[in-house]
Amino acid sequence: MSEREQQPQGPGEGAPATPAPQPPTTGASATTGAGTEGVGAADAPLVELVDVSKYYGNIKALEGVSLEVRAGEISCVLGDNGAGKSTLIKIISGLHQHDAGTFRIDGEQARIGSPREALDRGIATVYQDLAVVPLMPVWRNFFLGSEPTKGRGLLRRLDTATMRETTRTELRRMGIDLRDVDQPIGTLSGGERQCVAIARAVYFGAKVLVLDEPTAALGVKQSGVVLKYVAAARDAGLGVVLITHNPHHAYLVGDRFVLLKRGAMAGSHAKSEITLDELTRQMAGGSELEELSHELARASTPTLRPGRPTAG
């Protein structure tokens, strides 16, 4: 795992022969950096936030939020619009710095200054408005910014064969079977684009994957497809932070759940401690949901069971 840390710069120079190393199997020992004189190093989460707060001037954007992300686990952050989810992402991905609390990476206190630094430390963020260039082919997008080359001097050129082949195999490893990696990425569906972005992060050595509302703009089927790849990333040994406002999606894949409400933490549960109904109830704010269900019941839909996955 420690070699993979070096990888975000991409297999730029001579790496075509060695694409991404096979992700290690889930195991806490593999994930702890050998150099960290460990505060419980054997079992330190990849990323850990303890009582983290963020203020914008006199506005509390986030207060006292704790979250831990472990290798091979999915930590879900749930909250309605304005609950502070984006602020949390920005802290983890290095766009903003926290004002109070503790932020640890591999059990080591950290403060990330930029998205590039986050990437170098193995934290990759896939934003809602995806970082792809729609008119460019899938394989060019996949390697954008970290293109492998061959040859020297004036003849230094893109290793297009490797790029195409790696894109195809890496996507296939994630279970995405593209007909043609030469098609513009803009012609893929939203779900597929999410998956390419995830596969890209995995290939370039991410240890922690932060996904910002990956299913928000998608239909039911596409959401399912994306969740499958999120699970695939988890199985590949990554720690995943899944930001969503959909408790159904979260419960399908999540191992632990953090609920945010108006910038504060409204709950934190392991999957074994909570049912989907309870999660949904807390997410919607208990009484508010009951009120809603009463309203819905009156609106002549008596057969609808609460908690049934609906369109995402």
């Binding site: 998205p115 590039r116 990437l119 934003y127 995806l130 970082a131 792809v132 260039v133 729609p134 008119l135 460019m136 060019r140 390697f143 954008l144 910014g145 970290s146 293109e147 080359t149 230094r156 050129r157 893109l158 297009t160 195809r168 195999t169 296939r172 490893r173 279970g175 995405i176 079977d177 593209l178 007909r179 043609d180 098609q183 513009p184 803009g186 012609t187 893929l188 569906s189 779900g191 597929e192 998956c195 089927k221 596409q222 497809v225």
Partner: protein, 354 residues
Amino acid sequence: MSGSLARPTTPADPPEPDERLLHRSTLRSLLGRPELGAVVGAVAVFVFFSVVADSFLQLSSLSTVLYASSTIGIMAVPVALLMIGGEFDLSTGVAVTTSALVSSMFSYQMTANVWVGVGVSLLTSLAIGFFNGIVLVRTGLPSFIITLATFLMLTGMNLGFTKLISGKVSTKAIGDMEGFESARKIFASQHTIGDVNIKVTILWWLGLVAVATWILLRTRAGNWIFAAGGNAHAARAVGVPVARTKIALYMGTGFGAWVLGQHLLFSFDTVQSGEGVGNELLYIIAAVIGGCLMTGGYGSAIGAAVGALIFGMTNKGIVYAQWDADWFKFFLGAMLLLATLLNAWVRKRAEASK
């Protein structure tokens, strides 16, 4: 598409290409090329003038057409790259004149070998490009405004400095100066193959197309150009040096202006300081006819070259057809409209049918 997604992975993947690729015919992949509209347009223009102008098909006419095309094409290629990178340059037309003026006047005033002037001119042209680029990335203003300002300033400086230094609107003749003949060989000679005259600008043109195509399709810089124009935010997020790429693209147009400016100078031995105004639009038109998107992120150098060829054929074809040359602008406008419509239609079809 989502259907194919759900398919389970096959662990034993054969190394040969996906068999489903056969579904995508050669025709379809040709349709996906940005230059298609321009090629179709070029063929149409060629056939049209072959029919209406008797002398159009003669070899001597052909070399005249190629020459006219190359004087546009040399600039259209770097302008196309810049447009793929998402920016405009309105200063290219007068920058060509600036390049010629600097070269000529420096050599004359310093009584130096003309190659010294040529070198100084190269530095000046690159510096103008660098100026455009650095102002663009520092201010974040639209390139339309920035290069419009450069265009106006250069126009004024071309006239002002020339008058100040030589007292006239044109430069002094440098035809008898040291190095003139060798510089003419590089920038303004012609070679006769059989009974066809090949002007050296055609070689410059083809060379630039080849280099630009190589850069666009086979280098990291090419990937960055497409990304900078297609989605600069995304490109920055994955570590592409967008600012550097754009500055380099502007310096590329500076290089084109230098080549063409030296040709202008060494074809004759004096330069008119008021020349070049309006040519910048011709370069942009050639690039757009050649399939470059106004919004950036799409296009090709070959397309821009074909766009320049359409320009050359129309320009000279009208003469060979013995029509009033005033009709040229009409043809150019109609061509621009048709080619752009065709490009838009083709791209929509190519993307929808995948």
